[in-house]
């Protein structure tokens, strides 16, 4: 970590709009920031708000790439702002809110509301057969299966896959790769009593797995590198088979 005697000047342009103040039309506003070593977009935006513009809205929580709050379009591509080092970008950076989701203001969008609706619709919890007896040994599970479930359970509901999705731009009720991945996750889980017939009822239509056009930008942008492409293909094949029955 050696010091840089000649730091870059960053021009960070932010697409700004407050739906609560519709008299001010959407506009790009540019802020000049001196780059610091190890600077992330979290640090840059926080500095802008603390020093230059107290009205700028954005969402950060963990600032460590695990909570999924800070997804935005970074030079047009969905990503997590908190773990994006400015050094990996050109000095002219453009930031915009994720599309598809309800805009709260500036870079802040209501992914929470969208994800909650998706979860309620798909029942993204283990539909267990009976309450466990907590005084006895836990039910056994194959170690590889547990790891496989965790692989899909790592989704942080950041919304990048939905923002990058062609179908989601056309169909308001499309469940997105995040939704299909949840189905894959619970389908894999032996604790969940649902079968392919139940999952077909949930996503066996054009707002579900058959709406996917296989453009697969979701797979490209997923910050957790979830195997979305595989899961989309797998669930489509499984539920197509179910549909033919």
């Amino acid at each position: 970590m050696s010091g840089n005697p000649d730091p870059r000047q960053l021009s960070i342009s932010v697409l700004r709009y407050h739906p609560q103040a519709p008299e001010d039309p959407p506009r790009l506003q540019t802020y000049e920031v001196e780059e610091a070593e190890g600077m992330t977009l979290y640090l840059a935006l926080t500095e802008i708000r603390e020093i230059q513009d107290a009205s700028l809205q954005f969402d950060f929580v963990c600032r460590a790439g695990i909570c999924g709050s800070c997804a935005m379009l970074i030079d047009g591509r969905p990503g997590l702002a908190c773990r994006t080092l400015t050094a990996t970008l050109s000095p002219r950076i453009t930031l915009a809110p994720l599309p598809v989701f309800e805009l709260i203001a500036d870079l802040s969008v209501n992914t929470g509301k969208w994800m909650r609706a998706m979860s309620e619709r798909l029942g993204t919890w283990v539909h267990y057969r009976e309450e466990a007896d907590l005084d006895t040994l836990e039910a056994r599970m194959d170690p590889d299966l547990a790891e496989h479930i965790y692989e899909l359970d790592r989704c942080i509901e950041c919304g990048c896959c939905v923002a990058a999705c062609g179908t989601a731009r056309m169909r308001d009720d499309f469940v997105g790769a995040v939704g299909v991945n949840k189905i894959a996750r619970f389908r894999l889980d032996p604790r969940d009593a649902r079968d392919d017939g139940d999952f077909y009822e949930l996503v066996g239509d054009d707002n579900g797995i058959f709406g996917c056009m296989s453009l697969l930008a979701c797979d490209d942008v997923c910050p957790k590198n979830l195997p979305l492409r595989t899961q989309l293909a797998f669930i489509r094949r499984r539920l197509a088979r179910q549909g033919w029955r």
Binding site: T40, L85, T111, G112, W125, D142, E147
Partner: protein
């Protein structure tokens, strides 16, 4: 003003709050959760390494049970904890982890047969028993006798939060997102709910409830460098403090995590060291065995953090323009292990440092991590001074952790606290004497008071900048109320914080919107945080001993004779510039584990006059009941069953019965 009614109002949508809401709903009452952010974005998700529960499945956990978990936790807390609460916790943790398993948490499981692990820098072969195939696996963590930490790779908190968050959805728990509680409504020692603000619109709303639970997590943002999320500002602590009635316990007990990435303060899990990772200095030397021959890298966090700072003070740190740091070496664990069990660590190193921890060392230095202090409650989670106010999880001080929390005990506490306190809140709601009885005038008065305070801030011609004040506070806290403390520096800190508090009464805003307004939020939060910071600094100044994470260079010994007592801070007068400190003695004569040496760290404590007598009593009781098994001996020493909800009193099964 909009008024919302519910039975149990939960402030904070992390693991504890959600679990309380589920418990209350299951008992047939309404529960409503307020959360600053979507619940699944809560800081609970950041817990990486695991959750302690004495299941004793893996071979290195053989012989583990509630007794050992109890003793490790009391020792870890340097005898500051409430031992009955520790017993309740150790007893319920296995039930909590098994409940989560049934709710879908993909816990890592035992693979029978031989496996290679790193222990104390050497490769060791462990043979897992076939009988444990597919049961929950445990890893090693600091300050524990056995391997007890159940885990989901290193995304334990995430997996737990998603399972509990989705369970709350399944049970129809409403979560009001992006809502901030501003003040507790109370009169005559009874809490009636909160006045809250919708962050997106600025609307003030009253939430009226029979029981109000504070589950807002920690206050790491009092410090400049912390592993805590940006929302961990201690606002729940401050809500209780500002009533002037409720008290905060042991706010001076602040944990620093040994391995925060330098300089940003991002957490890398204790699981790195639990799995065999080593700490190295600028010369590449593994230094912890020099200081702590017993537990080395796996002494408790307070001890390891102090030893690291001590080693840096001796000139052994690596120098950078941001200061000095040491190294965490997990390269010896191998790529396969890292990519399977430490993948979040790998991602964080990759994105924030541009390094691969399978081949390179990670720069680390201790950073603020955990708030042992919290809203002082009894063993049921209820405030002793404000009826109807409950607290659980990191925001509470019921007091599980004493002066230092063991790794893996915090996520365990979130769900155990949620299960137990949720039941107690349901009990509370069922008593007719706790029916809502409030005057609408009271609600209006509190609502008006909060609206007026916000209007005054927006109209203020004040010249102080809230963000600048907050940064100054964080610097004072990090520089003078950190790992090593002295009376002189603490006195300066108190004085400087008082000046900042004074100045915070003259904050002016550049952005005057009544709606969403981050600067306005920073303004009212900073005022509250300054009061909390003063509770920490004043408590630390008054406590002239060293205990757990509270280390006084001028009073380096633990002093049970004078300081086996809990600090209680309150703020009776809103315009005061200092908290009122009071003390609550711990009763040695009823302890199951009387004070002694922790098994690591300093050995020269000053004994309490009752310790010796109590130790002989306990020894005699244990000898007398030796043939009746450890449950009988335990019950004779310090009964706790009666404190548990009836549904959670059953004994925990294990693959090998380690009981009588």
């Amino acid at each position: 003003m909009k008024v919302v009614h519910t039975d149990c109002l939960v402030i904070g949508g992390g693991l504890t709050g959600l679990r309380i809401a589920i418990a209350v709903r299951r008992r047939g009452h309404d529960a409503l959760v307020l959360s600053l952010v979507p619940a699944k974005r809560s800081h609970s998700a950041a817990a990486q390494g695991g959750m302690q529960a004495s299941l004793a499945n893996v071979v290195k956990g053989q012989g583990d049970n509630e007794d050992v978990h109890f003793q490790d936790t009391v020792r870890g807390g340097d005898w500051g904890a409430d031992q009955q609460v520790v017993r309740m916790f150790a007893h319920t943790a296995p039930k909590a982890v098994r409940e989560l398993a049934s709710w879908g948490v993909p816990w890592s499981r035992v693979r029978p047969g031989a496996r290679e692990v790193m222990i104390n820098g050497e490769q060791v072969t462990l043979n897992e028993r076939d009988a444990t195939r597919g049961l929950l696996a445990q890893r090693d963590f600091g300050g524990t006798k056995n391997w007890r930490t159940c885990y989901v790779s290193d995304g334990t908190g995430h997996a737990m939060l998603y399972a509990v968050g989705d369970r709350a959805l399944a049970e129809g728990v409403p979560v009001h997102e992006r809502v901030e509680a501003l003040a507790l409504i109370h009169d005559e020692g009874r809490c009636h709910g909160v006045i809250a603000r919708e962050l997106a619109t600025g609307e003030i709303v009253a939430y009226v409830a029979r029981a109000t639970a504070i589950t807002t997590g920690g206050a790491g943002r009092l410090y400049r460098v912390t592993t805590n999320a940006v929302i961990c500002e201690g606002i729940g602590h401050a809500l209780a403090l500002e009533t002037g009635v409720a008290t905060l316990g042991n706010m001076e007990a602040v944990q620093f995590h040994p391995t925060a990435i330098f300089p940003a303060g991002l957490l890398v899990t204790e699981g790195c060291r639990g799995d065999g990772g080593l700490l190295r200095d600028a010369d590449g030397h593994r230094f912890m065995p020099d200081y702590e021959p017993e537990k080395r890298e796996l002494a408790s966090r307070d001890v390891v953090a102090r030893r690291m700072e001590e080693h840096i003070h001796r000139g052994k740190g690596s120098h950078t323009r941001f200061g000095e740091h040491l190294w965490l070496d997990i390269t010896l664990l191998g790529r396969a292990h890292i990519e399977r069990n430490l993948r979040e660590v790998k991602e964080i190193c990759q994105y924030f440092l541009g390094i691969d921890p399978a081949t390179e060392w990670v720069p680390v230095r201790p950073a603020q991590h955990y708030t042992m202090g919290g809203v002082r409650t009894d063993a049921s989670g209820q405030s002793r001074t404000l009826t109807g106010l409950f607290a659980a999880g990191e925001a509470s001080c019921w007091d599980l952790h004493g002066f230092n929390r063991l790794g893996g005990n915090s996520v365990a506490e979130t769900v155990v606290g949620g299960m137990l306190v949720g039941e107690f809140i349901a009990d509370f709601c069922e008593h007719p004497e706790n029916d809502l009885a409030y005057s609408e005038a009271l609600i209006r008065r509190f609502g008006q008071r909060e609206q007026n305070a916000i209007d005054a801030l927006l109209a203020s011609e004040g010249t102080e900048d809230a963000n600048a004040l907050r940064i100054s506070m964080q610097e004072v806290m990090s520089d003078k109320v950190g790992i090593f403390r002295t009376g002189e520096a603490l006195a300066e800190a108190v004085e400087e914080l008082q000046r900042l508090l004074q100045r915070s009464r003259n904050i002016g805003l550049r952005y005057k919107s009544r709606g969403a307004n981050p600067e306005l939020e920073a303004a009212y939060r900073t005022r509250r945080m300054l009061k909390l910071a003063l509770c920490v600094a004043a408590g630390a100044l008054a406590r002239t001993e060293s205990r757990g994470a509270h280390f006084r260079e001028d009073y380096p010994r633990r002093d049970d004779a004078h300081w086996l007592r809990r600090t209680l801070a309150s703020w009776p007068h809103p315009d005061a510039s200092m908290p009122t400190l009071d003390y609550e003695p711990l009763d040695v004569t009823s302890m199951e584990l009387p004070p002694g040496w922790r098994g690591y760290g300093a050995r020269d404590q000053i004994a309490h006059p009752d310790t010796e007598t109590r130790q002989s009593e306990v020894d005699a009781l244990r000898a007398h009941y030796a043939s009746d098994g450890h449950y009988a001996a335990q019950a004779a020493c310090m009964p706790f069953d009666h404190l548990l909800p009836a549904r959670y009193r059953g004994r925990n099964a294990r693959i090998e019965d380690t009981g009588p």
